[in-house]
């Protein structure tokens, strides 16, 4: 099947798989299956306006975070920290946007987006340096940093960034002039959607066509060969990949603030950074396919809200479905051995070409039969 077709059919299949799982869960918990799924469908695709305001708006941060996860996983980095990086991006963008006068306009908006991008990258670089310098597993450090980011946000919206009346734990509103423009009048669909799609295409191009993207992919796929045969500075490439990954998630947070919420508050993200793992895996870490899988999960989440409202089904059930999808995908080798190819978590910092290995290494091929010297 051509790749373009696969990029559409595969997310659809996963969507069906999720619906099947959801139906079973609903039945088991005693909810009316038909009614609930109808509510889900109406909430996700029921009309142009819910598609635009619900599904696509939800899909946007998922796509940014999904791209962040993809680029990290492609580089052999298990960044589970998109959630925290997104929050820090949102916080930085808010800080910039609320401190600028309305006259800053588009330039101010750009500045806010850039600030969010940089903050996300900086937050991820902490995990990158911890891995490089001290061999701290990024899986653990990024999760820790997610929690810290949550509390930092909590601190900001009760302290330096709290709204002027000092009543609610949230920031002041971003001025109209500094918000992302609406794409469709009457809906919440904002220009951030286009920015996300452009980022996906740009990332795909970067990975495929540039020398730096090639180095990133080779480092992720086999860091030892990348260093030994390619002379690649894998430590540097990994660190840059951490930053790039965090930057994408941070941009996602900045877009969320300037396009949807217009203010910073603690529960800004309902776990976008975690759902993003499912988005990235479903897309086989391919940035363009991630567009489709972000829409699938965006629809699921938008539909879940409708389901909760109309059929009183807890929205948390969608989290169960997402987890189920990830489990099915990893169990079926959907993404092959691309993820975690570097194998042992014990790798500590980064492998080096000159690392002396023990004399016997288990997975190497056996010595050949050598006849030449004994054949008469």
């Amino acid at each position: 099947m051509p790749r373009a077709a696969r990029a559409i059919t595969e997310p659809l299949l996963a969507g069906l798989l999720s619906l099947g799982m959801l139906a079973v869960l609903l039945a088991v918990s005693g909810y009316p299956v038909g009614e609930s799924l109808t509510a889900l469908w109406r909430g996700a695709f029921g009309s142009w306006s819910v598609l635009a305001s619900g599904t696509l708006v939800r899909a946007t941060p998922l796509l940014f975070a999904g791209l962040a996860v993809s680029v990290a996983f492609r580089a052999g980095i298990l960044n589970i920290g998109a959630e925290g990086q997104l929050l820090m991006g949102a916080a930085a963008a808010t800080a910039v946007a609320v401190s600028l006068p309305p006259s800053a306009g588009f330039a101010g908006l750009t500045l806010a987006l850039v600030a969010g991008t940089l903050a996300g990258g900086a937050w991820a670089s902490v995990a990158g340096m911890l891995r490089q310098r001290f061999g701290v597993l990024e899986v653990i450090s990024t999760i820790m940093l997610n929690v810290v980011a949550l509390h930092v946000t909590g601190l900001l919206v009760r302290g330096p960034l709290q709204e002027p009346t000092r009543t609610f734990p949230q920031s002041a509103l971003v001025d109209q002039a500094l918000r992302l423009p609406r794409l469709l009048p009457g809906t919440r669909l904002h220009a951030g959607v286009a920015l996300a799609v452009l980022s996906a295409i740009g990332l795909a191009w970067f990975l495929r066509s540039t020398a730096a993207g090639f180095r990133l992919r080779m480092t992720g796929s086999n860091p030892r060969a990348a260093a030994s045969a390619g002379g690649i500075d894998v430590a540097r490439v990994s660190l840059l990949a951490f930053v790039a990954s965090g930057a994408l998630a941070g941009l996602g947070g900045a877009v969320e603030v300037t396009g949807v919420t217009f203010a910073l508050y603690e529960n800004l993200s309902p776990g976008y950074g975690y759902t993003a793992i499912a988005v990235a895996l479903l897309a086989r870490l391919n940035p363009v396919s991630a567009i489709g899988s972000a829409v699938v999960f965006g629809a699921l989440e938008a539909g879940a809200s409708a389901m909760q409202r109309d059929a009183q089904v807890p929205a948390g059930m969608v989290g169960v479905v997402e987890a189920g999808v990830i489990l099915v995908l990893v169990a079926s080798e959907w993404v092959g051995r691309k993820v975690g190819e570097s194998g042992s978590l014990n790798r500590g910092g980064t492998p080096r070409a000159d690392e002396p290995a023990p004399p016997i290494t288990p997975p190497s091929p056996p010595p050949t039969t050598s006849l030449h010297a004994t054949t008469p």
């Binding site: 869960l25 918990s29 005693g30 298990l78 589970i80 911890l130 310098r133 001290f134 061999g135 701290v136 597993l137 899986v139 653990i140 450090s141 999760i143 820790m144 940093l145 929690v147 810290v148 509390h151 930092v152 909590g154 601190l155 009760r158 302290g159 776990g271 975690y274 793992i277 499912a278 895996l281 009183q312 807890p314 948390g316 059930m317 969608v318 989290g319 169960v320 479905v321 997402e322 987890a323 189920g324 990830i326 489990l327 990893v330 169990a331 080798e333 051995r337 993820v339 975690g340 194998g343 042992s344 978590l345 014990n346 790798r347 500590g348 910092g349 288990p362 997975p363």
Partner: protein, 307 residues
């Protein structure tokens, strides 16, 4: 005069350390078999809800047992996917955590209604050891604690002895270092790993039960609050050794208890800093420990497929 806040601080430290220690002991065993279970958080939260639901019907001791079983149940899913099907451990574990959080949130609403009204469960009362509890400063911290604390304290030497002094403990350690060698020596390394993961789930579930039944007294969505991840960090900090895990848990118990001490000393510091402190400390401690050299050699590795 300063003795009372200090005794309070130590008591709170031990109390906070207990669920972390239980979870970390289980994870230590799992990781020594070469499996890192990031789904530990899911086991803990499952233990929380099962503990609450069972305790309100059958009493807190039954609740604790049910919490352990719930942890095992969710660990079974992890074991099937990550050990049985040899899928990536980290991604599987992340999904298991999402599953645990989503499932408990949903079930809680299904069981107790939309409002998610705070339901309180009967709790395990502190068991005082006569005489010893009167020791100044440390008496209450060590000898007037609820059942799970004594359980965890007993588990530390037990797990240590088992790991280093028994043949099955040897099989566990060998599997974590070199599963292929263990298999060739007659050890069924997949089975060792699966059982180690289930033990990890049991301990994680007990940790969740402890949280509900010995500390909070109720359930809230996501109340495990990252303790599973902290426990994984504790395992690394404790150098994959049960005694090390005990010391590291205590350290984190103290970090979380600092807020009580500071409140007692009437220092005005935003509480988010205290909430974030254990996690920041974890990062710092991991950086300083640079634990990678002590890690089991095959940790996180997927089995090589044939040919």
């Amino acid at each position: 005069m300063t003795a009372a806040p200090l005794a309070d601080f130590l008591e709170a430290s031990v109390r906070n350390a207990t669920p972390l220690l239980l979870a970390a002991l289980g994870e230590t065993v799992a990781e020594r078999s070469g499996v890192i279970n990031v789904g530990l958080e899911g086991a803990i939260i499952s233990g929380c809800l099962a503990g609450l639901a069972t305790a309100s019907a059958l009493g807190p001791e039954a609740g604790l047992a049910a919490a352990g079983l719930a942890g095992v149940a969710i660990a079974i899913i992890f074991a099937i996917v990550a050990v049985g099907l040899a899928a990536d451990q980290i991604i599987t574990g992340t999904a298991i955590t999402m599953l645990g959080l989503g499932l408990t949130g949903t079930l809680y609403r299904v069981l107790y209604g939309d409002t998610g009204a705070a339901l309180s469960a009967p709790t395990l009362s502190a068991l005082a050891i006569p005489g010893l509890e009167r020791i100044p400063v440390i008496g209450r911290a060590l000898f007037r604690q609820p059942l799970p604390t004594y359980l965890a304290a007993l588990l530390v030497p037990t797990v240590w002895w088992w790991m280093y002094r028994t043949r099955s403990g040897l099989s566990l350690r060998a599997t974590g270092e070199n599963p292929a060698a263990a298999t060739a020596s007659g050890v069924s390394s997949r089975r060792v790993q699966a059982l180690a993961v289930l033990f990890g789930g049991l301990c994680g579930g007990l940790a969740g039960g402890t949280l509900v039944l010995a500390q909070v007294g109720t359930f809230a969505e996501g109340m495990s609050a990252g303790r599973g991840f902290v426990a994984i960090a504790i395992v690394a900090l404790g150098r994959w050794n049960p005694v090390g895990a005990a010391l590291a848990s205590l350290l984190f118990g103290m970090a979380s208890a600092l807020q009580f001490l500071f409140q007692a000393l009437s220092l005005d510091i935003p509480y988010q800093i205290f909430l974030a402190l254990p996690y920041i400390l974890t990062l710092l401690a991991l950086a300083l420990a640079s634990g990678r050299y002590a890690a089991p050699a095959a940790l996180g590795m997927r089995p090589q497929s044939a040919a």
